[in-house]
Amino acid sequence: MNWAETSAGWSWNPLTDLQQIWAFPFMVNAFRAGTVVAVLAAVMGWFMVLRRQSFAGHTLSVVSFPGAACATLLGISAGFGYFAFCIGGALVIAAIPRVGQGGSGQESALTGTVQAFLLACGFLFVALYKGFLGGVNSLLFGSFLGITTTQVTVLTIVAAVALGVLAVIGRPLLFASVDENVAFGRGVPVRALSVTFLVLLGAATAEASQITGTLLVFALLVMPAAAAQQLTARPAASLALSVLIAVAVTWTGLIAAYYSPYPIGFYVTTFAFAVYVLARAARTLSTAVGRHRVVGGGAVA
């Protein structure tokens, strides 16, 4: 796992370092896949945070584990399992009313039970497929090794389709997310948009699971978006910022994972969380300064 030993160490020159990393084809593939996944996850996550559907997003990301385990058990490519289970899960969640909000006790109990049951199913598939136990960790916590060029192509095509669909529905979706009733009154198909968005979110989690692992997808979905929405209230700016943060976090995560024995999931979550904490701190600071200024101005007037 530790490729640093086979190559020269970190030289503090980003250009030569990147050149050195990219000398390995699998690292080039990892960067390509990571970038695609980061962009898609950041955009979907931005809408997810805006729509307050983080519990639904978390459930979807959990679904990818039994998906991959089931595909492995059946002897087909894990990619099929990821997409089939995540998009299927999205359709099921769309059928449960209002579940995305965390909701009342009863609804969240239902979601929690479904989540735990699906994870248990994943564990069952793993247990039935003996000798697979070592692979569980990479399934759950991600691995950037062994990403093939075909996989990158599939990821790119799916991401392009998902982003294309989102570009078409983006504006009404934003309207419906911010003010559902007004949007409904203006003839926006709120319900259809909500289902479409969940399916797109399912696709995004299926993609991201293949890089960060099932348990850490949620980090890539929620944290860049949450940080960006702390920093700016303008939709376009915060969407762009969210993508920027996600890509930056993924790249630094890949580089750090390349040079150290620890898995990429740890680095991606840690860097993303650091950005989120900094964003919150910056916002707290700026509101404190802003309030101070208002109070001071009031005293003068």
Binding site: S104, G105, Q106, E107, R291
Partner: protein, 306 residues
């Protein structure tokens, strides 16, 4: 406590079906609420100060005023949740919060979640014994005098508020007016001498407003319970009121509705011209009443309401 005439207490009234005592000379009771020069602060902001108020036993008093002026804060101060910043406050002759179960409280209402699977009677029962530790032992009622007593008491108040038909349904499935009646029963279940009600008519439709107001008025008149009610609109309760307290920014005036809700008094209180109109059916309309100062950043400190 010693001066309270037990014959007029609510529990006895219901238990023995004694009709209300006709108005006449009664032994003097200590005032239910007395404020002298009281003031209150939330954070660094003084909501009001220098307020004098006396609520006699069995009186029905409404607390009125614009949004954000600190009406709910007054109730919280009487409950002892918020200390007064100045002045002296007595509730049933004791410091706020010391009178315990002699005070019934109905907070500004949130509706119960529609999926909450707990019966109305259980909500009422929490008012009776919810602050005791442990769980009730599963002893059948016929072996436990205390269980029987509690059960009968709950049945009484539920009947008093007219909620018997739906008290055994999960409270989340009850309508807003039904929930409000059950919550009044919860406030009444310990047989209080003082009821503190925070906007009990809010979020009810017009017909329910009248019915709930009549229920509270009847409890006040017949059982001799003092009532302090924060209200947004004085009209539904006008018929039952003994006195009103109008709070404005800084201070307050108290007196009978006819004296206080007038063009002169309110204009003086607010410091701007205000006009009180009386409609042909006796309703009062205040025109030109200023809203509270727009310090929205401080609103959440009060717990989201006034």
């Amino acid at each position: 406590m010693s001066t309270v005439n037990p014959a007029t207490r609510l529990g006895d009234l219901v238990r023995h079906r004694v009709p209300a005592q006709p108005a006449g000379p009664q032994p003097p009771r200590s005032p239910a609420v007395s404020l002298r020069g009281a003031g209150v602060r939330v954070g660094s902001r003084t909501l009001w100060s220098g307020v004098d108020l006396e609520v006699g036993a069995g009186e029905f008093v409404a607390v009125l005023g614009p949004n954000g002026v600190g009406k709910s804060t007054l109730i919280k101060m009487l409950l002892g949740i918020l200390p007064p910043a100045a002045g002296e406050v007595r509730v049933l002759g004791e410091a706020p919060g010391r009178a315990g179960h002699r005070v019934g409280y109905l907070p500004q209402r949130r509706n119960f979640d529609a999926s909450l699977r707990i019966r109305g009677t259980d909500i009422v029962r929490l008012g009776l014994d919810g602050d005791r530790w442990g769980v009730p032992l599963p002893v059948p009622a016929r072996f436990s005098a205390r269980r029987r007593e509690a059960r009968d008491r709950i049945a009484e108040v539920v009947e008093l508020v007219g909620a018997s038909a739906y008290a055994h349904r999960p409270i989340g499935e009850c309508s807003g007016g039904e929930q409000q009646r059950l919550l009044i029963a919860q406030a009444l279940v310990r047989d209080p001498e003082l009821l503190l009600l925070d906007e009990p008519l809010d979020s009810l439709d017009l017909s329910h407003q009248g019915a709930v107001a009549a229920l509270i008025g009847r409890i006040c008149r017949e059982a001799g319970v003092s009532v302090v009610m924060v209200a947004h609109d004085v009209n539904p309760i006008l018929a039952w009121l003994d006195r009103v307290v109008y709070i404005a920014e800084g201070g307050a005036v108290a007196g009978s509705p006819q004296d206080v809700i007038t063009t002169q008094t309110l204009s003086r209180l607010y410091g701007v011209p205000v006009e009180v109109l009386r409609t042909s059916d006796g309703r009062l309309v205040v025109v030109g009443q200023p809203e509270a100062p727009a310090l929205h950043t401080d609103r959440h400190v009060e717990g989201g309401g006034t």
